[in-house]
Symmetry: C2
Subunit: 743 residues, 2 copies
């Protein structure tokens, strides 16, 4: 039985709670033994749904509170007897040994030397000679299997008859003997429980076992309304070094989806075999920043198809048991990409995604298909932020997140909010409890005043162009500074440029397109502005795609015919035929990377007045003093510069326009700059001052369905702003710090 | 008649002046009508030689002063009737039109649109279809000649049947109708004389004409002792845009050495033809920063051979007339590279080179062959610095240059100093006249105390490894910041990193080697430390050479056997097989360029105490806050960092050692850092404190021949320092600002 679509988008999560209160739309984590707190917070925050967490259970008392009940299960790691009896059905992956420089004609490599031995064991079940590769990284050539030998006892590979002073690596298969999330929780929350092992449902026997277990689970949870799947089959990649410290992380990557069985099936279906090197990718592991290869993309399609099939089965069984399903993005969410059309075939009812900022919000709120969308807010009630000694600062973190989320929420709404973790930790912070109370009320005010409608957008559709398109819609395009940020592992923090975060709160439609799509069909007809934002030679910028004539033809044609182009960081960057920026002719700027050191730049003066830089209030921060980008065309209008380093520039091309931005860290000035740049690039300057809040610290959104306008103050100071209506008529509004005002 | 070698290195320039005074070793520019000043300054500065300048003449009175007479001639531009009658014997060059983006299937390109029409005319004598190329820069393919047509009247090229939105360029041949130096002097010194046109002696008729003219010149200058050739056949490249502003400059480039005749001869000799694209190089014009192609290197060899032949003839004729020859590096000096063995075949007596810093000094003083070496100091007596209104600051510029030059002079001496320009301009600055008086005396003190000997070097030979080796020994390896410096066109100023300048003053032997040499013969046996200093993908760093197994084998073997390696900026940088720095295994660091964003760095602490960073007195300035270089090996010793950005690191590899430096702008702290890094890399820490001045603002040099020690203060403040003798015994010395003290 498939439930009717999107029941919760207009009303509280379930019929049970619909009639109850002016509250609603909030999911609370609960836990056996904490019943009193649950009741108290349910009232205070207006919660209408209760969930359990990893490692917590719901008591009968909680289950009987009359609320919507979410029960969390991660099937592939739910039961721990089976994996221990079927160690050949654990998830596999290809790893590359740390490179070893040969000092003589023989080299001994311990492939596992740089990896955590409690997490991985080498695969000795399948033939190493068939599935492993030793590669001479100095020449790039595969070393013949006759030259090397794996000692299965020591796990070491001896390579003979090689060239001294060349570098060698081994691509090898492992089984994962410790689930990544389990390991993370052990380390972060100081768990001291048996290691959790996941299994791979790609194996028929495993699939059958899981389904049997699942049916039992459904039976055992009669009070559960929603099965919250966390998530489906494969975990995202986190590789751990010899000391259990993260050495590689790809939240969107397919590195952990491998089994020899699937490799063989792939070869049959696609007519070619994938090698270890296709996954190891010289040690770059096809990370999101890498321009994807055909082999990797084919593998993604192959696995995505399997995961959808698996998810469909889980939904079918839940529905049969009279339950709906929610899916939580995180943990085992690989293959679940909700922007891919096949996702909807599963019949999931509720999206749940964690959100720390506007990009994360849009990642959830823009998903197609009309599912109920629930936001899981940070911070999680974990001891890293909610320190037991009371020295944590959860309120500050939450507020900073919320202001970014609210900007994005004004453009694309979600249906519900929720929290996760251990409630008792949150209760130690009364100011946090109060803050969340206000936050929940403010969220409900948005729902009430919008009445299910969406705010009005400008007549501009923006397409973000990169290698991934919908595979990674609203996924952060990190730049090189990200590498040098010491991160908190559970939250996505962005170092440096963050154009997407600026974009997340702007009143335009946004879609994500890939070079593959542009190669086939050009720029979509309904798009007015194309954004290419990414570091050079990454998947975000496009790398070698820019040497593909079809791409530059399509993009130039689009702009020449009146389209807008916004390039940020390394737009169209790829060294080819005398240009680094392949669209240097369009943008009027190029980047110095060492080949034109002895050629002069065009000397340009910064334009004193330009539509894009008007009324910003403050000087934009391009995140760097030196872009090494120079003006290469006398028609270029320079908008901001440090000496000869171009920070922002604009240029006409045919009937269209282009804008270059050196980088764009998120702040209110930069968001406004992008706002204006989009309208200028689209040639729609006249549209800007319709439903527009002049002060860059403020923004507004108009809801045509209810004819209501909301004006928000995104800053920590009182602000006064002129607000323009749909006819461009202005009125003045004064707002308290962070206030949202409905008019 | 060949004069005896190097007469002036031990004594004044000629027998004429040898007996005269305690002065000597100074060449003065003189000029008809300024006789009184010439006599005055001759005494004051102790000049023993007189020269004319471009545009000045010497009077009988001056010629009869009894001094050594240098007469300047630049034969290829000396006589102006011949070129005007033989416009097909002017120097030619290949230019690339500015790129044009086609908006339809036809595009019209005016190749000269971006170039100065008073400097170049297109070559309509030779077949455009044979020598020109139209290139589709979107695909990189040459457009068939059937698709385009040159209108010789308008100079425009019409290309039909092409792909809209592709970019097209024309590689075309021009004749140069205005000599580059003449044009520069016109613009800088506001000359208002007829344009000077150079000719190309590659044409037999032109060669014969020049020789006839030259013989007459020799006859007409009976009092001339030294013919100062400025220089020989081909000017270095300065391309001028449509407004006569420099758009490209390569002081060491062969761009202006082309004639159709030479192209055809080359094809016969080398068995393959060079295309326009071989010279145009996608618009990069084989600039010094570009990794050179085989074709370009072959062309250099071909032209070098011709220039040597031409120079030999000029020397022969001068000697026959009883005169010696000097050669001035600059202007028409292409093909004269003094570090190439063929240079000495010419039989030149005196090197004259302009020097603004230690690198320029070493460029002259290190040349092999024992020629007399004369330094032409900056500033030139030109109105740009010696402003007529007295507001110039020539003394400050001279002093700043001199301190750098003096450092280098202590390691490798020259024989003479000289000035150029208009003496009357200098006389308006009495403080400058006094300053030069002191400078000349100080220089002579060095000569006197050294008595022809050279200072003692540490037992360390450093080889600077790049694509050019001896072709461009002691030529600055500019980095990307150079592009963003608004330069004075007559002096080489270095923006940002300047390792060579630091090196110029250190007590070690230095040689320059090319990858080609290393590929053939490995690292030379007598070398202890290899330096690879350059931006990634430039000729200075090496680019694709680092993917050549022979190179990495040789360098790794050298280090593993006990050699030292110092990498600066983009050492061994070339994206290949999972590494950006190909010697990441050796250096223990790699650079983030977008592929390893999701891989963690090794977290390392800066070493509190390390030989390299000890006793520097100040924090080294690596010229940037963000190198994007990270530690990739647990054995790496971090020496300096900004957060996770590595500024300096050290590591052992086999029996050898390597040092990485993010960048190294020139200053006294950084020079000392390099000093220590070289000794550490060579494993000769114990040798450091022999003939060593502890305070980094000071340096010393010991002259074994005279057993004298000089200690210098390179700073503008008094300094006290411990000075160590050859046994490591220290004494304390106090010095006035800038003082040099002989002990």
């Amino acid at each position: 039985m498939k439930p009717t679509k999107s029941p919760a988008s207009q009303k509280p999560a379930s019929a049970k709670s619909a009639a109850k209160s002016t509250g609603g739309f909030i999911t609370l984590p609960a836990e056996k033994g904490e019943e009193k707190m649950v009741i108290e917070l349910t009232k205070k925050w207006g919660a209408d749904a209760i969930r359990d967490s990893d490692g917590t259970e719901l008591s009968k008392e909680i289950l009987d509170m009359g609320m919507e009940i979410y029960s969390t299960t991660c099937l592939v790691r739910a039961e721990q007897k089976y994996p221990r009896e079927h160690m050949d059905q654990l998830p596999q992956k290809y790893l590359m040994s740390d490179p070893v420089t040969a000092q003589s004609a023989t080299v001994v490599i311990d492939p596992m030397a740089g990896f955590y031995r409690e997490k991985y064991v080498i695969d000795t079940k399948h033939s190493a000679k068939k599935y492993w590769e030793v590669i001479d990284r100095t020449t790039g050539k595969v070393v013949p299997t006759s030259k090397w030998k794996l000692d299965t006892k020591t796990g070491k590979v001896t390579v003979k008859g090689i060239t001294p002073f060349h570098v060698y690596t081994v691509n090898f298969l492992v089984f994962q003997i410790w689930d990544t999330t389990s390991m993370y929780n052990h380390l972060t929350n100081n768990w001291n429980k048996p290691h959790v092992i996941s299994v791979d449902p790609y194996h028929k026997q495993c699939w059958d076992h899981l389904m049997k277990f699942y049916d039992k689970y459904l039976e055992d949870h009669p009070k559960t309304d929603v099965v919250r799947l966390t998530t489906l089959a494969y975990h995202f990649a986190v590789d751990s070094d010899q000391d259990a410290v993260d050495k590689f992380r790809d939240w969107t990557g397919y590195q952990d989806t491998i089994s020899v069985l699937a490799l063989e099936d792939f070869a049959k279906q696609y007519g070619y075999r994938l090698r270890g090197e296709d996954f190891v990718d010289q040690g770059y592991y096809n990370a999101a920043c890498r321009v994807p290869s055909k082999g990797y993309l084919d593998w993604m399609k192959f696995i995505h198809k399997f995961v959808v099939k698996y998810g469909k089965e889980l939904v079918k069984r839940a529905n049969k048991a009279g339950k709906r399903t929610a899916i939580f993005w995180g943990d085992h969410w690989i293959g679940v990409e909700p922007y891919k059309p096949d996702f909807l075939k599963m019949g999931i009812d509720i999206h749940v995604g964690a959100a720390e900022d506007g990009v994360a919000l849009r990642r959830i709120s823009d998903t197609p298909g009309g599912l109920v969308k629930e936001l899981r807010l940070y911070p999680y009630f974990f001891p890293d932020v909610f320190k037991e000694d009371g020295t944590g600062e959860p309120t500050a973190e939450s507020l900073s997140n919320w202001i970014k989320i609210r900007r994005a929420l004004m453009r694309k709404p979600v249906d519900r909010l929720g929290y996760g973790g251990y409630l008792r930790l949150a209760l130690k912070y009364p100011d946090f409890i109060e803050h969340v109370t206000e936050l929940c009320n403010e969220f409900r005010a948005f729902k009430l005043n919008a009445d299910g409608g969406e705010s009005l957008k400008a007549p501009i559709k923006v397409a973000v162009l990169n290698c991934w398109g919908n595979w990674k819609a609203w996924i952060n395009s990190f730049g090189a500074p990200q590498k040098f940020l010491v991160k908190r592992p559970d939250v996505i923090q962005v170092a440096g440029t963050n154009l997407l975060e600026c974009l997340a709160g702007l009143p335009v439609e946004v879609q994500f397109i890939s070079f593959e799509e542009v190669e086939k069909g050009g720029i979509p007809k309904d798009v007015q502005v194309v954004i290419n934002d990414g570091d050079a030679e990454t998947a975000w910028s496009g790398g070698s795609w820019w040497a593909n004539p079809k791409i530059v033809e399509a993009v130039r044609k689009f702009i020449s015919n009146g389209g807008g182009f916004i390039g940020c960081r390394g737009p169209s960057a790829h060294m080819h035929q005398g240009r680094y920026f392949q669209l240097a002719d369009v943008m009027g700027v190029d980047k110095e990377v060492g080949s034109t050191l002895q050629s002069a730049t065009v000397l340009a003066q910064v334009e004193e007045k330009h539509f894009i830089t008007e009324g910003l209030g403050a000087k934009p921060d391009f995140g760097t003093n030196e872009t090494f980008v120079y003006v290469c065309d006398r028609e270029t209008k320079l908008l901001a510069a440090n000496g000869l380093h171009v920070m922002a520039a604009a240029k006409s091309f045919g009937k269209g326009r282009s804008v270059f931005l050196g980088a764009l860290p998120y702040d209110l000035t930069n968001s406004r700059l992008l706002h204006r740049a989009i309208f200028w690039a689209a040639g729609k300057e006249a549209e800007l001052t319709k439903w527009y809040s002049e002060n860059p610290a403020t923004e507004c959104a108009y809801y045509p369905k209810t004819k209501k306008l909301v004006v928000v103050n995104n800053s920590d100071k009182p602000q006064t702003t002129k607000v323009f209506d749909g006819q461009g008529k202005a009125t003045s509004v004064s707002l308290k710090p962070y206030e949202s005002r409905w008019i």
